[in-house]
Amino acid sequence: MRYPLGLALMIILLGYSCKDPYLPNVIASNRNYLVVEGVINATPGALTRIRLTRTTNVGDTAMVAAEQQANVSVEQDGTIYPLTESDSGYYQISSLHLTGTTCRLNITTQKNEQYQSDDIPVKITPLIDSITYAPKDGGVALFVTTHDDMANTRYYRWEFDETWEYHSPYQSTITYDWSKRMLQYKTLAAQDSLYRCFQSQASTSIEVSSSETLDKDVIYKYPIAFIPAASVKLSVLYSLHIRQYALPKAAYNYFLNLKKTSQNPGDVFGPLPGELKGNIHSLTRKEEVVIGYVTASSITEQRIFLYNDPTFYDWKYSFDYDRYAQNAISIEGIDVTLSDQSKYYLENRSPCPLDPAAPPCTSTFGACCTHAIPLHLSGPQLLGYVYDTTCIDCIFWGKGGRKKPDYWPR
């Protein structure tokens, strides 16, 4: 984690610093500026998506309002490529074939206000050389390395997605077959469906870098992402997928400034907040503010997987049970209708552990260790364990879903 210089210094001053919520009442003006976001994908036939939204009041918590039913088009040498609105506010096209060195974005809103970009240079993005990682402050830092032998690129921007697999604390292997009124072993697939979940998250920060002060056009180990110590992201398997864009210098300055004003807030020695103009202008009202900088380039991508490797990092991931614990105490499969048998289980439950040989209530899963009960399966009598639903269903342990991504390696 990189702290702004001043902030870190203040912490050093014996932690005398502190922050308190503060939202002055004075900020209540609705400017309703148009916001344009997106990259014109110069790879022939690849998907280009432009998003149009409007600004809201600073204190609002609502989602931003999408700018719908606008006419959006990419223009090159007089050829107009219209985009179609796919989702609310998203405009896309997959049939772009940019040949020239510049292009332009045109927008006409529903209210017939016209906007146009400056000439956007069409850049070629070099390949990503590698994504590497190293332990840092108990967590793992991930770096991106790239270069351009022709030294034409110099300015880079990245976006990324993180995806990680995570598990419920316990794996349920037995199910109560309601039709047969008996307990049965689950299939592996059925076991996995409750045990393995997958969550994705897009980058929320602006990542730009430049090689302008270097002899060669090299970006070496730019720190792009960081997995903090004990994060669930690395509890099983983690994947980072990076998209790289080449930028013109003006766009680099725009994004760098945006990064400084919005990502290093409160830096004692930080610069005064100031805005840079984007490259979209209103043709209707010249002085109108339009936020956003649209660039055009090919896009290069790379993905990396990180396993929870105890030899590499001392991973101290622990579940935060209290956060997710529900009051629903039940046995998987029979929590809707209570049968006699389930009544029996519930009424006869005794303090954990019933059996001194039961697995110890470790600190990690202690809160889930509820009961140990005898189970009558088809074979000999076994000692089984009954857990809360929350302990065996990963859906309670994150914001992800059960669907395994196609690219997942195992």
Partner: protein, 930 residues
């Protein structure tokens, strides 16, 4: 009247011990007295023998003398003595002194009450009167070595005869040094007044003074805050020298008597000068116990700082780079440590500090808003001594003493301890390091009566590395030699040469490809001569020449290890700033004094340098560069010059009040490049060049001053208005480091500032300190026609340090000689900030959009600090004197906002206010002196 004459005599034992010393007593008189009074006796002696008697009539009012016949006066006295015990003494001028209970000496300079003799005489006088042959005086033939306390009386009572009469008419000038008795150090700002005359002068910073008066007998009254008042009886016969020693004022807790001339706020023509006493400095509660000059200065009216932690000064609406900070005449470019949380001056070595914020003396130039002159002590001239102390953050030690009889030295240093404070931090800071040090050396030598010399050196260094990453280092290095020569009593002058250097660098090795070191430095070589000519008391003319050669290395970035950073070295900048100045402080009448001065400064920007040419009337940008001109080494290719008039006047409304007015113009040719609110170590300096014009400030000010209660309470109201032209401002996203064409990133701006300052100050007594209230505003305007999108549309907007209301209270209460309490309380309006006006979503996060700059304010600031000073006993003979200071910074633990910022969290933009010292911070320091 006799009484008065006698009292006067007690002060003026003017008799000279002569050969026929008792001849008066041998004179024959014929007395006719029958139960007559002493007056009648005296009248007969006067009439017949021209003997003048001095006595206190009350002591003799019971005496009835009956004497008839002719006899020697001695015999008459002895007869009277038979009935009435008294002492008599006669000098060679036929003055006869009659005293009771106490013997009077007629011996020059030697005190009458020599204890041993006195007791003997008492004994003799009361038991068995001894009739000596030569009267009752026992002639003193051996040299008596009096104790120190007696010497003081001796100096006070002695008549100093200065010069020799050529003729007794006209005026004569005396000069000399006022020094501290214990250490022999010169005392600056001591006031020297002639009793019963309006004439008054002040010593300069080194204790030197010159004063002109009519020939004849005078009494000089010498006063200085913190030191005991002194008097000197002088008989001026011609030009000459008189050195005066003052000793410490022993605090009187009950009665307070202050000589009327002690405070010079009423009489000096200059305005807006504030002197910080070192005693005040040490009493004021300090952050982490580090006594800090700059922080005390921030509590003066008209002085603010942008942020809590910062030692940067904003004086009357001036930017932080507009203060000339001089340490013994050397310019300190970065007078701060530890990122600006502490000042770079070791309080142990500082003699005093004076801030000029309104009328700036003509001898100072090259900065717009203020001059801070910090002087270190000269070192003890009498004995070897030292002092030291330890606080939570740093320790300091200083040593001083004489080298031979004419030279003294002072050496001191200060350093942080090992990074123990960092050990208290979370693990992620285990790789952090921070520390600083500074050291001073000063050698002062009086070569002879007319020449003195000092050599001073200062070095400071800071280094810090946060989170194991970039290492920052910066430091000052200064050396100066100053020679002072007294040509004659009317003319003296000084000459100094010196080198000032400031550098900073940062380096990073974490990324092997990007490993680099960035360096910046500025050096200046300066030469000054200054002459002060005092033809008479009505005029004081000061003139001189000052030259500074600047050499800046604006920046270089070089690869480290196997890094592939493209080596960049911006070409150095060099320039010469010269100035000629003259001023006359003219006392038109006792009521009116004017000081008229003119400084003319000339700035030559020198080659070698490449200068870009830009398309005319277009915004300067990389795209509008049309050509590059190369100027050879030493070529003068841009010259700026202009007059800097400085005028001040004082009109006395009454003995206790005066009215002052001043107009000041200053020009500045070197600028700090910084687009942050506070001074940071990564700020660099830039000379004026063909595109960056010198900044020019004009200030008018008016003040009314009134003192109450014998000047114990000083009050003043000052108003000012100030205009600044060609201030530098920065375009959004300006690149300041390693930019070979800074002109594309800066814009021309102007500034206006105005304010009114109220001050009430109690200078003496058990309770002392000051209370001030300031209302002031400062606005900036980016009015560069070449900038297409000026900040706030080219309208005036409040500067970052615009704080309309400022209230300061500094109080010290002496409970006893060894125990005192100090309280500092500060209230200011919150500084302006830019608040966002809209929220939007981009790159996966909510972000905010800022618009007009500085239209809102952070919450108001209020802080109270408290400290207790405990001193050890005051025995003079003691190995070491020690003192403890215990205190609390921000004792109410108020969470003052340092800044307000906005960040997006879970879809919502949240505002936070950040407090740097949001809790009460206690401290303890221990100091000793030997």
């Amino acid at each position: 009247m006799k009484l008065l004459r006698l009292l006067c005599l007690l002060l003026l034992p003017v008799c000279v011990y002569g050969q026929n010393r008792n001849s008066g007593l041998e004179k024959q008189v014929t007395l006719h007295l029958s139960a007559d009074s002493i007056q009648a006796f005296a009248a007969q002696l006067q009439q017949q023998a021209h003997i003048t008697c001095y006595y206190i009539p009350e002591y003799f009012d019971t005496l009835k003398i009956t004497l008839n016949g002719t006899m020697k006066i001695k015999e008459a006295l002895d007869k009277i003595y038979a009935d009435f015990k008294f002492y008599y003494a006669c000098d060679d001028k036929d003055n006869l002194y009659l005293t009771k209970d106490q013997e009077l000496s007629t011996q020059l300079g030697l005190p009458a009450p020599l204890l041993k003799k006195l007791s003997t005489m008492h004994h003799v006088a009361h038991n068995a009167p001894v009739k000596t042959k030569n009267g009752k005086r026992i002639p003193i033939t051996t040299t008596v070595t009096p104790t120190k306390s007696v010497i003081l009386d001796y100096d006070e009572n002695k008549l100093f005869t200065i010069g020799s009469y050529q003729n007794s008419q006209g005026y004569a000038t005396i000069t000399g040094y006022v020094r501290h008795r214990n250490t022999g150090e010169g005392i600056g700002h001591a006031s020297i007044a002639i009793a019963d005359m309006q004439t008054k002068t002040m010593t300069d910073a080194y204790g030197y003074y010159t004063i002109t008066m009519p020939k004849g007998r005078h009494t000089l009254m010498i006063t200085c805050i913190g030191l005991a008042d002194a008097r000197r009886q002088i008989d001026i016969r011609g030009a000459g020298q008189l050195n005066i020693q003052l000793h410490d004022y022993v605090t009187s807790l009950k009665g307070v008597t202050i000589a009327s001339s002690k405070s010079h706020n009423i009489l000096d023509p200059e305005m807006g000068a504030s002197k910080i006493e070192i005693r005040t400095l040490k009493q004021v509660p300090a952050l982490m116990g580090e006594a800090d000059i700059l922080r005390v200065l921030q509590t003066l009216p008209g002085v603010t700082s942008a942020g809590e932690g910062s030692t940067g000064l904003n004086v009357r609406g001036g930017n932080v780079d507009q203060n000339l900070v001089l340490l013994d005449g050397a310019t300190i470019y970065n007078p701060s440590h530890f990122f600006g949380f502490f000042s770079g001056f070791n309080a142990d070595l500082v003699k005093d500090a004076e801030l000029y914020k309104s009328s700036i003396p003509v001898k100072y130039g090259s900065r717009l808003s203020s001059v801070l002159e910090v002087l270190t002590r000269e070192g003890n001239r009498n004995k070897f001594s030292g002092s030291g102390g330890i606080g939570p953050l740093s320790g300091h030690l200083s040593l001083e003493g004489p080298i031979g009889s004419k030279t003294s030295f002072l050496v001191g240093g200060r350093s942080t301890y090992s990074d123990w404070t960092l050990q208290l931090l979370p693990d992620q800071y285990k790789n952090s390091r921070a520390g600083f040090y500074d050291a001073n050396l000063k050698i002062t030598s009086d070569l002879n009566d007319h020449n003195s010399l000092f050599v001073a050196g200062y070095i400071s260094g800071d280094r810090f590395r946060l989170d194991g990453d970039t290492l920052y280092r910066y430091g000052n290095m200064n050396g100066i030699v100053k020679w002072k020569h007294i040509f004659n009593p009317h003319l003296y002058g000084s000459m100094d040469v010196g080198i000032d250097h400031y550098n900073f660098d940062m380096s990073s090795r974490n990324n092997k490809i990007n490993a680099y070191r960035f360096k910046f430095d500025v050096s200046q070589y300066h030469f000054n001569t200054n002459l002060i000519y005092t033809p008479n008391n009505a005029h004081k003319i000061e003139a001189g020449i000052s030259m500074v050669y600047y050499k800046l290395h604006p920046g270089s970035k070089l690869p480290l290890d196997s890094g592939i950073t493209t080596p960049i070295t911006l070409s150095p900048e060099q320039a010469v700033e010269s100035a000629l100045y003259i001023s006359d402080q003219y006392t038109v009448s006792p009521k009116l004094t004017v000081e008229v001065g003119l400084r003319y400064s000339l700035f030559n920007y020198l080659g070698p340098r490449d200068v870009y040419g830009y398309a005319p009337n277009l915004e300067r940008d990389v795209t509008t560069i049309i050509d590059t001109s190369h100027y050879a080494a030493g070529k003068l290719f841009k010259t700026y010059h202009g007059p800097e008039p400085r005028i001040a006047a004082r009109y006395s409304l009454s003995e206790n009040s005066s009215l002052k007015a001043a107009y000041n113009r200053t020009r500045q040719y070197i600028h700090m490049l910084s687009n942050t609110t506070v001074v940071t170590p990564t700020d660099i300096w830039k000379l004026s060049d063909p595109y960056i014009k010198p900044t020019v400030a004009d200030q008018v000010s008016l003040g009314i001053y009134h003192n109450f209660k014998d000047n114990v309470i000083e009050t003043s109201i000052e108003v000012y208005y100030k205009w600044i032209q060609h201030a530098l401002s920065y375009k959004n996203d300006a690149t300041l480091l390693l930019n070979p064409h800074i002109e594309t990133d800066v814009a021309n701006a102007d500034s206006k500032a105005y304010g009114v300052e109220f001050l009430v100050k109690k200078t003496a007594g058990k309770l002392n300190g000051w209370f001030s209230y300031t209302y002031s505003r400062v606005f900036l305007r980016m009015n560069d026609p070449l900038v297409s999108e000026p900040v706030n549309g080219g309208a005036y907007y409040p500067a970052e340090y615009d704080k309309p209301h400022v209230v300061n209270l500094i109080a010290n209460y002496r409970v006893s000689h060894r125990f005192s309490l100090s309280l500092t309380s500060i209230y200011t309006t919150g500084r302006p900030i830019t608040l966002p006006v809209a929220r939007y979503y981009m790159s996966g996060s909510y972000r905010v959009y800022y618009e007009d700059r500085n239209q809102y304010r952070i919450p108001d600031y209020f802080r109270t600090d408290f400290s207790i000073n405990i001193e050890g006993n005051h025995k003079i003979r003691k190995l070491a004197h020690s003192s403890w200071t215990l205190g609390v910074y921000n004792m109410f633990a108020r969470k003052n906002a340092y800044s307000v910022y906005f960040t997006s969290e879970e879809g919502k933009v949240n505002g936070y206010k950040l407090s740097i010292f949001g809790t009460a911070i206690p401290f303890v320091t221990y100091n000793f002196k030997f």
